[in-house]
């Protein structure tokens, strides 16, 4: 394996993919509504 593959494909690609999965599953509209309310309570 080459370092460029490790960095650009596995590291950046993996970070992007996991971020999208995390945002889709955890950062829901409900969560943001709740956070929005939490700011002023």
């Amino acid at each position: 394996m080459h370092m460029v593959f490790l960095y650009y494909v596995i590291c950046i690609g993996g970070t992007l993919l996991l971020s999208l999965i995390y945002m889709h599953n955890i950062w829901t509209d409900d969560m943001f509504d709740h956070f929005k309310k939490g700011e002023i309570e």
């Binding site: 370092m3 490790l6 590291c11 971020s19 950062w27 409900d30 939490g38």
Partner: protein, 486 residues
């Protein structure tokens, strides 16, 4: 006067003109401490993202990382393998929560945030003093970087360049607060990205293509084209390097406080995507470093490889743009640090730690004056001969700051039993262990160990000593209700 000088002077005048214009409009909008410290919580996601990446990068993105690629080849990409997730993970795990809690508790800085969460004046004071001790030498080093840049390109005395550069920056930071810092960082970060985008294809083309580059690097030294190399990027150091950068950002008050300034908690989705794109672009200097190793063997100073490459392969005006780009990289970091130190003095130390009853206008005034005084002091010291202890502080600055902060921050979000005693113990022990280890091993092993220790100690000591604060319990109760509702 030759052509390059004329182009450089025009370029610098336009560059400083842009900074002064942004500073002027920002100063008109800065009417309260909240405006000064967190830009009135009004920054759009693209500005927060570029601001984070450009402050993260500094001059090392161009000079240091190019130099490391020249010296060690592709194994230096381990730094970026740490950095990319290192800037994204804290945004995912802490960004929205931090934004929400800081708005709920009305906290403006990291010492303020930790002081309120743990209800601890000691922790606020200790972290604030850490910011002063570690960040002021960082600013001096960055100011010195301006001089090194000018002397590398022009072989000239740099005193006046440093003074003019320093004064412009200090004035717009002091007057415009985070409004000025964030918008000038965004403009400069965008400019830095354009320079990097041009560097990568030219670097590949200059050595005859991607396959040719690897073959030539192999011929010079096989480790240049390997995953690890035996001098610096060993498997052990690479492991700690990744840990170090993954935890590093959350422990930097000048980085994580950017979360406080975002306009809307929903904007974090955009911040994550922009951050990944810009960090990928900013890492491009390693291509010029690897190409430079083939094209310019035997450079006396490896850090000069990117300027040397630009001089050889780009027209003069691009060289001028690159100088301004590197200047911008230095400026984004030093302005971010300066605004953090100024707010720490005015807001955390004078108002909160020493309980001075001040109205908001007085706090704003003190923050502005302290930004001006500290910036001026750092500028003056940068023109003098650097004492030996200063270089040690610079080397230790970012890792040391992270060791002090990361455990208390992580535990405040994820451990409902975290106590102020646990946080303070972890902060004191971790920074001590880090400084002792630094005498025996490199900053990544010392920093990575110190940061893990900081998290573990906060959790363990909290189980044995003290009770969680009412604020921390209240915040965790709020989350619990939300999770149950889900």
């Amino acid at each position: 006067m030759d052509n390059m000088w004329v182009q450089l002077i025009i370029g610098l005048v336009l560059f400083f003109g842009l900074l002064i214009a942004i500073g002027y409009f920002a100063a008109k909008r800065t009417k309260s401490t909240k405006d000064f410290a967190v830009a009135g919580r009004s920054l759009p996601p693209i500005v927060v993202a570029i601001c984070m990446v450009s402050a993260y990068g500094s001059a090392s993105s161009y000079l240091g990382n190019g130099g490391l690629a020249y010296e060690y080849g592709w194994p230096m990409a381990w730094i970026w393998i740490g950095c990319v997730p290192g800037i994204v993970i804290p945004t995912l795990l802490f960004g929205p929560k931090m934004r929400m809690i800081s708005a709920r508790l009305n906290t403006l800085t990291i010492p303020d945030f930790l002081g309120e969460m743990y209800e601890s004046r000691f922790l606020r004071l200790f972290i604030a003093l850490g910011i002063l001790i570690f960040y002021i030498p960082m600013m001096i080093a960055q100011f010195k970087g301006v001089g090194v840049l000018f002397s590398a390109f022009f072989d000239m005395s740099f005193t006046w360049a440093t003074i003019i550069f320093g004064i412009v920056m200090i004035v717009y930071c002091a007057k415009g607060g985070l409004f000025a810092v964030a918008w000038t960082d965004a403009a400069q970060g965008f400019f830095m990205a354009l320079i990097m985008l041009a560097l990568v294809p030219v670097a590949i083309h200059s050595v005859g293509g991607w396959a040719e580059m690897n073959a030539k690097l192999m011929a010079i030294q096989p480790s240049l084209n390997a995953i690890f190399e035996p001098r610096l990027f060993t498997p052990l150091t690479a492991f700690f390097m990744v840990i170090y950068y993954w935890l590093w950002q959350i422990g930097q008050p000048y980085m994580s406080s950017r979360f406080f300034a975002l306009d809307d908690v929903r904007s974090f989705k955009k911040v994550v995507i922009y951050v990944i794109i810009f960090t990928t672009i900013i890492s491009g200097a390693m291509w010029a470093g690897c190409a430079g190793r083939i094209l310019f063997p035997g450079l006396a100073d490896a850090d000069a490889v990117v300027p040397t490459f630009i001089k050889a392969y780009f027209p003069t005006y691009f060289g001028v743009l690159a100088i301004i780009g590197i200047l911008a990289a230095i400026l984004t970091t030093v302005s971010s640090i300066l605004i953090t130190v100024g707010t720490t003095v005015g807001y955390d130390l004078v108002e909160k730690c020493f309980n001075k009853t001040l109205d908001d206008k007085q706090t704003l005034k003190i923050s502005q004056i302290s930004t001006f005084v500290i910036g001026g002091l750092a500028l003056i010291l940068s023109l003098l001969k650097t004492p030996a202890f200063l270089s040690i502080l610079v080397y230790a600055a970012l890792g040391g700051m992270a060791c002090m902060v990361v455990g208390p921050v992580v535990a405040s979000f994820y451990d409902k039993k975290a106590t102020k005693q646990g946080a303070a113990t972890a902060s004191i022990v971790s920074i001590s262990v880090f400084l002792i280890m630094l005498t025996q091993c490199n900053v990544w092993i010392a920093g990575g160990t110190g940061m893990i220790l900081s998290i573990v100690l906060t959790i363990l000591v909290s189980r044995l000593w003290g009770k969680p604060s009412q604020t921390l319990v209240g915040i965790h109760e709020y989350y619990k209700k939300f999770v149950k509702a889900m």
